[in-house]
């Protein structure tokens, strides 16, 4: 057993994800099967291998930096247009700090 239902609940907590009891049962089974399959990687000796974080090409160190010129931003109204709740130019969320 790679993962228990209680561990699934802990991971869901880290992921900020509500799951129903039946989803937890199902995920414990699926994740157990998939994580067991992933153990195949242990067969490989990678002690001398550098990790590959991304596909890299040779280029000048600063080549990816664009010229430091001001370009017009989206603007407050446009940026907030998809907010479920906005007001006074800000995103609104449930109260976090009590006065």
């Amino acid at each position: 057993m790679k993962i228990t239902e209680s561990q699934v609940r802990d991971v869901a907590d880290l992921a900020n994800l509500n799951l129903t009891d039946s989803e937890i049962v199902r995920l414990a089974k699926d994740m157990d099967e998939i994580l067991t399959h992933m153990d195949a990687l242990d067969e490989l000796d990678t002690s001398t291998v550098e990790p590959m974080a991304q596909v890299l090409y040779q280029s000048d160190e600063t080549a990816t930096l664009r010229a430091d010129e001001i370009v017009p931003p989206l603007g407050n109204e446009t940026a907030l247009a998809n907010a479920p709740l906005a007001g006074a130019g800000y995103y609104k969320v449930p109260k976090v700090i009590e006065r």
């Binding site: 993962i3 994740m31 994580l35």
Partner: protein
């Protein structure tokens, strides 16, 4: 006007000879696509106003005797994970059902500047996560070749639209095979370019180190033309490559004699017999054209599925963290901030997204990072090294795209591991970041298309396209459409 069989060349010829105007073509293509859509569910929504405005710009340029661009008037479908300003972009998710992006993806801007006419946005697995298009919140797509079967995924809607003829060409995205596998299932051409070849600006992020935008076309030339039009450095994506973009289409001379092609033995084990037969026939045709075929080995292949699903889910769990109910249209009403995040995500994401968020969070969590994520990054280096070595001996690699042809809707949906394993032949190209494509190479006895995969060195799309084009010209596609 019949629009379903048109290629880009035929659109250009029709406009040049005034057989039709761009507006007439856009109107016909839109009404045909809208009428046909219930058969496949390939499009999620259409954007007629934008299409007609683009077509009018083309007609105006043509009337003034100006160059209207290499894609003038071409009806195009765009996968709904690529943002379009003012046109809803849902990513196949309930969470983004009402999301209207405030900007266009760079690929979209470049194609429209070249005259393309975007008809609408295509269905896909939620956030591009899936191999069958069954993970869309807006219903599965049916394969136009066999309506009881999946079109593949995740870019199933784009592949189906091109196969059905409701778009001349389309854009998809590929993270683990999401362009090539649906192209093979639907019998069209699908291309995953070198990582960084096309800007990812405006491609909604799934796994950033693996995500690519790629074109679909009915012919190799159409796909190559789309790619050369949208490729190239973009300041808005720091990972987009500086390498100059050659004209691929100018080099499609059909001459491939002497080209060395590698057949990786690990890709021919466990292949469904009929799919294998079609690939072997295709290889025989390539040899007839003068290619030298030789067996090669890519020994790390058997580790590709676990490696990919660790890296892809880890990156996905980070990328999907932004859907928290604050910025993107959908929010569950809860009294606390934390409760609001959790309920929004719990209600909004479908089963496959939840599975990947959970796996990704797990492999990145304290105590497991080295065992899973770091290990997978090292294995990724081994997979890339396999290809690097192979390309010192051969010019291109030829392999299957999928172990089997299109499967029935519902057949694999309850077995996520089996679904993941079906990506075995496509995920390696994404992990290495090399260009790869699927070209049709015939059908099974049941009439299901089979795709042949061609892989090449970083930035050597030219060799890949030349081989694919020679194969097509020699009749290799016969029986696929």
């Amino acid at each position: 006007m019949i629009t379903e069989s048109l290629t880009i060349d035929q659109v250009q010829a029709g406009l040049a000879t005034r057989k039709f105007s761009a507006v007439e073509l856009a109107q016909s293509a839109l009404s045909f696509a809208q009428a046909e859509n219930p058969k496949t569910n390939a499009y999620l929504h259409f954007c007629p106003e934008r299409a007609l405005a683009a077509a009018e710009r083309v007609d105006k340029k043509l009337a003034a005797g100006e160059n209207a661009g290499p894609l003038a008037g071409v009806p195009l479908a765009v996968k709904d994970v690529i943002v379009t300003k003012g046109v809803r972009t849902t990513c196949g998710s309930r969470l983004l059902e009402r999301y209207v992006p405030p900007y266009d993806a760079t690929a979209v801007v470049r194609l429209e500047q070249a005259g393309a006419v975007i008809l609408g946005k295509t269905n896909c697995d939620e956030f591009a996560m899936g191999s069958s298009n069954e993970n869309s919140a807006f219903g599965p797509v049916r394969n136009p070749v066999a309506p009881d079967r999946v079109p593949g995924g995740s870019s199933g809607g784009s592949a189906a639209a091109v196969a059905q003829g409701t778009a001349v060409a389309a854009l998809g995205s590929d993270t683990g095979g999401s362009v090539r596998q649906p192209a093979s299932f639907c019998g069209v051409v699908g291309v995953t370019p070198t990582y960084g070849r096309v800007s990812r600006y405006g491609l909604v992020a799934f796994a950033s180190s693996l995500d690519h935008i790629g074109p679909f076309g009915k012919t190799v030339r159409d796909a190559a033309l789309l790619l050369e039009t949208m490729a190239g450095r973009d300041e808005c994506d720091s990972t987009s490559a500086f390498a100059p973009v050659p004209s691929y289409t100018a080099q499609l001379d059909g001459k491939v004699a002497g080209l060395k092609i590698g057949l990786p033995r690990e890709y021919f084990e466990g292949l469904a017999s009929e799919s294998g037969d079609r690939i072997h026939q295709a290889i025989a045709l390539l040899k007839k054209l003068g290619c030298e075929a030789r067996e090669i080995s890519l020994p790390a292949t058997k580790y590709a599925v676990p490696c990919y699903y660790i890296i892809a889910t880890a990156e996905a769990s980070s990328n999907l963290a932004r859907y928290d109910g604050v910025r993107y249209t959908t929010r569950a009403n809860e009294d606390t901030l934390s409760g609001m995040y959790r309920a929004t995500r719990g209600e909004g994401f479908g089963a496959e997204c939840k599975r990947r968020i959970m796996l990704g969070t797990y492999v990145l969590s304290h105590g497991y990072y080295d065992a899973y994520y770091l290990k997978a990054q090292k294995v990724r280096a081994l997979i890339a090294e396999d290809f690097r070595k192979a390309f010192t001996k051969v010019d291109a690699i030829v392999a299957p795209v999928s172990p089997f042809p299109a499967f029935k809707i519902g057949e694999k949906v309850d077995d996520p591991l089996q679904m993941y394993l079906s990506d075995i032949y496509t995920i390696t190209g994404d992990l290495a970041g090399i260009p790869c494509m699927s070209v049709p190479c015939g059908k099974t006895s049941e009439g299901l298309p089979v795709g042949m995969q061609i892989l090449a060195k970083h930035f050597d799309e030219t060799t890949m396209f030349r081989l694919a084009d020679a194969f097509e010209k020699a009749g290799g596609f016969a029986g696929s459409n």
